[in-house]
């Protein structure tokens, strides 16, 4: 007598086990949630920090100073040399061509006409020499 082969029922057919797969998926999900590092947004901000060493104080070059005296006659004196308004204009043009950072110190005598000072200030403005100081002698 031979063994009777039982016909396979529909329920005995191979089927995918969902329970362990769900377990594994949840394990992976929990692993990633726990190990994920959220990026700190503040880390992207640029911060300007002071330099470790303070820059040494800038020593003003005496060449950057221009002392012009305003007299009644002659009009302008610069480094012991007399200038008219026209020649002063040319000189200041040269100076301004070299550097605009020149400090112009204007020293006016008491009896110098106000016009001479104003003309000189106009020349400085014309040549964009903005660092000015006016003294009275």
């Amino acid at each position: 007598m031979g063994r009777d082969k039982k016909p396979r029922r529909e329920a005995d057919k191979a089927q995918l086990e969902m329970t362990p797969m769900i377990d594994v998926v949840f394990q992976l999900l929990i692993f990633f949630i726990v190990t994920l590092k959220s990026e700190d947004i503040m880390a992207r901000l640029e911060v300007m920090r002071p330099a470790p060493e303070v820059a040494p104080p800038k020593i003003e070059n005496p060449d950057d100073l221009l002392q012009i005296q305003v007299w009644k006659e002659p009009t302008y004196v610069l480094r012991g040399r007399e200038y008219s308004l026209k020649s002063m204009d040319q000189h200041l043009r040269k100076v301004a061509g070299y550097s605009k950072n020149v400090t112009v110190i204007i020293k006016c005598t008491k009896d110098s006409p106000h016009r001479y000072l104003v003309d000189l200030l106009d020349l400085c403005a014309k040549h964009k020499l903005n660092k000015l100081a006016v003294f009275s002698m």
């Binding site: 305003v70 006016c108 005598t109 008491k110 009896d111 110098s112 006409p113 106000h114 016009r115 001479y116 000072l117 104003v118 003309d119 009275s136």
Partner: protein
């Protein structure tokens, strides 16, 4: 400041002492206020400087100066008639 060194405010001539008093009262009342010194181009620097010194004494450190050329006209401070 006119060419003779006389001081005027809004066309009215004032003695230096009166002007100083005026500025002092105004400064006390309102604090610092802008000042434009209009110096005649023919005036002496000394005369313009006197006004600047006056402002400094009162406590007004920031003043503007300008050069003007006043043409002949009726004297300010006087009526045209």
């Amino acid at each position: 400041v006119d060419k003779k060194g006389r001081l005027s405010v809004h066309g009215i001539y004032l003695e230096p002492a009166v002007l100083e008093n005026l500025l002092r009262i105004r400064h006390k009342r309102y604090g610092e206020f802008p000042i434009l010194i209009r110096g005649d181009l023919r005036a002496m620097h000394q005369q313009v400087r006197a006004v600047m010194d006056m402002c400094t004494d009162i406590g007004i450190a920031k003043v503007n100066i300008a050069g003007v050329y006043e043409h002949k006209k009726s004297d300010p401070g006087k009526s045209p008639n």
